[in-house]
């Protein structure tokens, strides 16, 4: 049924339909309406879950780790500083192979304090082993949570999934969404059957010491599983389409790239603005396109290569930085073409840090800056007048 919903409420509705047994969160800034709405659903009785109100994000992550260890489908949501405080446990959840699903309402990192959107939080834990997918719209953010449990709990995967949605832009925005029915979700997502769990009748130990004789294999195994996730996402997405009548992103989305001379690579909600700019520019005969990265972890190297190999000029546009080096997404997209005979000229642009608004003109400027000369790291919409004093 079509409804006009706030992003956070839409996600809460999707999570309710996935029937998690345990939800844990720390209810203070930076938090969203997602867990507020879920707690309210549990209080009203429309959701049969235990909501655990904890004293910190570290504890929230620990509670869902514990619940998942006991064989229960579990959920949490966070962003920004909250994710950073969770970081230790975030790595443990992946290392212990628990299929937790978490929403990250992407926001900037302190200091200085900033509550607005960028991707620095998720990027900072990119190496944790979590699957990370990025939504462009509220509809997609909603759908991705249903997809996320299906992938995470797949017996051959058993890894946590972080669903990324742009803070404020998607979490606090309202849009028309097609809300799935409980029956559809039930059909697509079977109940969770853990391969192993904490059980007093059949005791096991989890998360033990792995000395140098054992540790490396655990990391190798997670990395191998990420390769399986690359194969699984398109398959599960096809099944999703059959049940819900729409796709849920896949690994990448190509928008008018086939004959494009200039392509922007980006993630998240900004891709909507880019698509509008592409249509405007194409109406004037400019051959421009977009490659949207939906799955950031695993990184779809083959799909990116296929999409960009015949494009002369590429701009990687990212809402995060790796201070002291190239932009994280720029470095990875360039690495896809390392050692290849034919490679596009790949330029890197940083945009929208700490919620700086990204306008149609900002995107047009990026296309304009794409010449045969590669640009390594240029900040779009930077205010030089704010830099004068420090220089």
């Amino acid at each position: 049924m079509r409804e006009f919903l706030e992003g956070s409420r839409a996600v809460a509705e999707a999570v309710r339909m996935c029937k998690p047994g345990v939800i844990s969160a720390y209810p203070i800034t930076p938090q969203t309406h997602i867990v507020e709405e879920l707690a309210s659903m549990a209080a009203r009785g429309s959701l049969n879950a235990q909501c655990v109100n904890v004293e910190s994000e570290h504890s929230a992550a620990s509670v869902v780790l514990g619940a998942s260890a006991a064989g229960v489908r579990s959920f949490t949501a966070t962003s920004s500083q909250g994710l950073l405080l969770m970081a230790e446990v975030v790595f443990c959840i992946a290392g212990m192979r628990f299929p937790v699903v978490m929403t990250c309402a992407n926001r900037a990192i302190s200091a200085p304090i900033n509550i607005w959107n960028d991707h620095q939080d998720a990027i900072t834990v990119r190496d944790s082993g979590w699957i990370q997918i990025h939504a462009e719209t509220i509809q997609e953010a909603m759908d991705m949570h249903i997809l996320a449990y299906r992938i995470a709990e797949s017996p051959k995967i058993m890894l946590p999934v972080m669903v990324n949605m742009d803070g404020f832009i998607l979490t606090h925005g309202l849009e028309t969404v097609d809300v799935p029915t409980d029956e559809q979700v039930e059909k697509f997502l079977p109940s969770y059957k853990p391969l192993y769990k904490l059980d007093v009748d059949n005791p096991i130990s989890l998360g033990l010491l792995a000395d140098p004789d054992y540790y490396m294999e655990t990391r190798f195994a997670i990395n191998e599983t990420h390769k399986d996730v690359l194969k699984l996402i398109p398959m599960v997405n096809d099944e999703f389409s059959k049940v819900f009548g729409r796709t849920c992103g896949g690994l990448v989305e190509e928008y008018k790239t086939k004959d494009a001379e200039k392509v922007i690579v980006a993630m998240g909600s900004v891709c909507g603005t880019i698509k509008d700019v592409i249509d405007q520019m194409r109406a004037k005969g400019k051959k421009v396109g977009l490659l949207r990265i939906v799955s950031y972890r695993p990184f779809p190297i083959a799909a990116i290569y296929q999409a960009l190999k015949d494009v002369p000029k590429v701009a990687v546009l990212e809402k995060a930085v790796s201070l002291g080096s190239y932009g994280p997404l720029l470095a990875e997209v360039r690495s896809v073409f390392c050692g290849k005979k034919k490679a596009p000229a790949i330029s890197g642009f940083v945009i929208g840090l700490g919620g700086r608004d990204i306008t149609v003109d900002s995107i047009k400027e990026v296309y304009k800056k794409l010449t045969t000369k590669e640009i390594t790291e240029e900040y779009i919409d930077l205010k030089p007048e704010l830099l004068e004093e420090s220089i």
Binding site: I115, I169, G173, L174, E175, I358
Partner: protein, 180 residues
């Protein structure tokens, strides 16, 4: 595509206003997108909320710089900000201010209405929350949608006495423009 910019202070209900306005368009069968932009996260800080609406899903995610319509919930904001910045040549603005407040300077084809929305709200709701009276005025001034869609939207948002009072405020705002 139509673009609406709301100027308010945090705590004055601008997000609820944007949401009710968006919902009225949704009921009409359009594709609205409503979103806030917070300033400093404290009560009273200037903030904006936006509504973009089209016949197809809206993809554009930027803030609104060239609004077709303006809702100025707090007239004191006009002292420090240029609320008319980027205001379209044939745009319509609704300003919540006391009767008799001079209409600010504007371009010849722009329409600017002063609506005593807080006074209407005091009489209908009992609190100086003029948002729904302004939305009633918006419906009358722009003819964007039928008044009944707005009333339906308010009834989805509020229940009981609150809904009744807000519907009254909408009707009063609507009539105020029709009579002027």
């Amino acid at each position: 595509m139509k673009e609406i910019r709301i100027h308010a202070r945090a705590g004055q209900g601008a997000i609820t206003t944007a949401s009710i306005l968006g919902h009225a368009y949704f009921i009409e069968g359009k594709f609205p997108s409503a979103f806030p932009n917070f300033g400093a996260a404290r009560m009273g800080a200037p903030m904006n909320a936006f509504v973009r609406v089209d016949d197809k899903p809206v993809r554009l995610r930027s803030q609104i710089y060239e609004p077709d319509y303006l809702l100025i919930v707090d007239v004191t904001l006009m002292r420090g900000f240029n609320c008319f910045k980027g205001f379209k040549d044939e745009g319509i603005a609704i300003i919540n201010a006391k009767e008799g407040t001079p209409v600010p300077e504007h371009k010849p084809r722009q329409k600017v209405y002063i609506v005593p929305a807080n006074e209407i709200a005091m009489e209908t709701i009992g609190r100086p929350l003029g948002n729904t009276a302004m939305l009633g005025a918006y419906a009358a001034a722009t003819s964007e949608f039928k008044l009944e869609y707005l009333i339906e939207s308010v009834n989805l948002r509020f229940t009981g006495k609150t809904a009744e009072q807000n519907v009254k405020a909408i009707n009063r705002g609507f009539e105020y423009i029709k009579k002027s």
